[in-house]
């Protein structure tokens, strides 16, 4: 049953100081609402007071700075898809944004909401892991910057404190000469939440791997970088034996489980196959 409206409140917020005040009183941020409204509809949204952060300028926009690109927490999937610099330097963010829900969801869902939700099936985290992004968290005591790899701690757990907001994600455009690969395996093209997904980039010189970064989503409590596979592949030529061995090693990097969307066994095999697809494409 839907949540009972009188148990909830939603207020507008014009500036950050006001927002920090509301956080201190236990109010929760509301961005695009594509997660919150669904929880509300299912009757499982915790009762309480929420505040609309969609007008906070400090959290908005995609900015191209001198040697990095700042993705504001309020940037929507559509903003990401349509941004020229993101298209050029971070193509798998564009690929993954295109596959989130459908257009109406992409127009509303935000980068910050996707990250804060900390779902293992969220689409952006694997991409942010391979692009070695940084994340800016902001509170009344200032800004702190973390490596994105440190952010997700466990199933729906992250580094963010209750007094903080996600401000932005920082990306360095240093992957132009890399192959970029993104693949999401789900039941339907639009709207589907994935059974497994991979984000991967690699720099290859005469079939030899000079650099490689691989991350999976939906197959562990958080999105994960596959360090064991990466270090095995580094410096190697991509022969069929090497690819086979990489698929074996993948079982040490990911721990897929059974749930309503799929089984652990299916997820593992599908993950191995998409890894193979990636490696065959760059070799």
């Amino acid at each position: 049953m839907r949540g009972y409206l009188p148990d909830y409140d939603l207020s507008s917020t014009e500036n950050l100081t006001e927002a920090f005040g509301k956080l201190a009183e236990g109010e929760k941020p509301f961005a695009g609402g594509t997660d919150i409204m669904v929880l509300m509809d299912a009757g499982v949204l915790p009762a309480g007071r929420y505040f609309d952060i969609s007008k906070l300028k400090e959290l908005g926009g995609i900015k191209v700075l001198k040697d990095q690109v700042s993705l504001g927490a309020l940037a929507t999937y559509s903003d990401v898809r349509n941004h020229k610099t993101i298209q050029k330097h971070f193509p798998i963010l564009v690929e993954s944004a295109k596959e989130v829900g459908a257009i109406a969801i992409q127009n509303r869902g935000t980068v910050g909401g996707n990250i804060a939700n900390a779902s293992p099936a969220a689409d952006f985290p694997p991409c942010l892991l391979v692009y070695e992004a940084k994340i800016n968290l902001i509170s009344s005591s200032g800004l702190r910057t973390l490596d994105y790899t440190q952010f997700h701690l466990g199933y729906k757990k992250s580094e963010i404190r209750p007094d903080e907001l996600i401000q932005s994600v920082l990306l360095e455009p240093r992957f132009l000469d890399y192959h970029h690969f993104w693949r999401k395996v789900g039941s339907r093209q639009a709207q589907a939440i994935s059974k497994t997904m991979v984000a991967a980039i690699a720099k290859v010189n005469r079939r030899k791997i000079e650099d490689i970064k691989i991350a999976f989503g939906s197959v562990a409590p958080t999105a994960v970088r596959c360090r064991k596979v990466e270090s095995f592949l580094l410096g190697k030529k991509l022969t069929s034996e090497v690819i086979l061995e990489a698929k074996n090693i993948l079982t040490k990097d990911i721990q897929p489980i059974d749930d309503i969307r799929s089984t652990g066994k299916y997820r593992l095999i599908a993950s191995q196959n998409v890894l193979e697809e990636f490696l065959c494409g760059i070799g």
């Binding site: 409206l5 609402g33 409204m37 459908a102």
Partner: protein, 152 residues
């Protein structure tokens, strides 16, 4: 309760409603604009599609507060005295059967046509991919949208 101002189909409305109420319910119950339908209530089916400040959204996922001072276009706003070419095409091509998905399909198609002047079949498919139809099998809907070309 909050006093909110909505600009729906070029008319200004002032409503007293809960800020967390769904735009869908405000449209249907407060403004009696029942063209916008509810299917799933969770962003999956597109029956509740409206255009807010030029962007396609699911009105079941928009809280009333965020619609304050926004321009909203619902299916009622597509026709001006007579039906729009898009609506006529739906009738001609059998794009509507039971009709529950139709308002959402029309709005999503309208939004897509505003983004893309000469939509390809792929553009149409993508533009409508958030809208479910259990009757037509989709081909007639895509045909309808193709039929009226760049116009809507």
């Amino acid at each position: 309760m909050k006093k909110l101002k909505l600009l729906v189909n070029s008319k200004t409305f002032t409503v007293d409603c809960h800020p967390f109420a769904r735009l869908l319910d405000v449209l249907r119950e407060e403004l009696k604009l029942t063209g916008t339908k509810e299917g799933c209530g969770e962003g999956e089916c597109g029956a509740c599609s409206v255009i807010m400040d030029g962007k396609l959204v699911n009105s079941c996922l928009v809280p009333a507060l965020q619609a304050h001072n926004k321009k909203i276009l619902t299916v009622e706003g597509l026709s001006n005295k007579s039906m729009s070419p898009l609506q006529k095409a739906f009738i001609q091509c059998g794009g509507a059967q039971c009709g529950i998905c139709t308002p959402g399909m029309l709005i999503a198609a309208h939004a897509m046509k505003t983004r893309k002047k000469n939509p390809s079949k792929e553009d149409i498919r993508e533009g409508l991919s958030g809208n479910l139809c259990r009757c037509t099998g989709y081909s007639q809907i895509i045909e309808s949208v193709q039929k009226c070309g760049g116009r809507s």
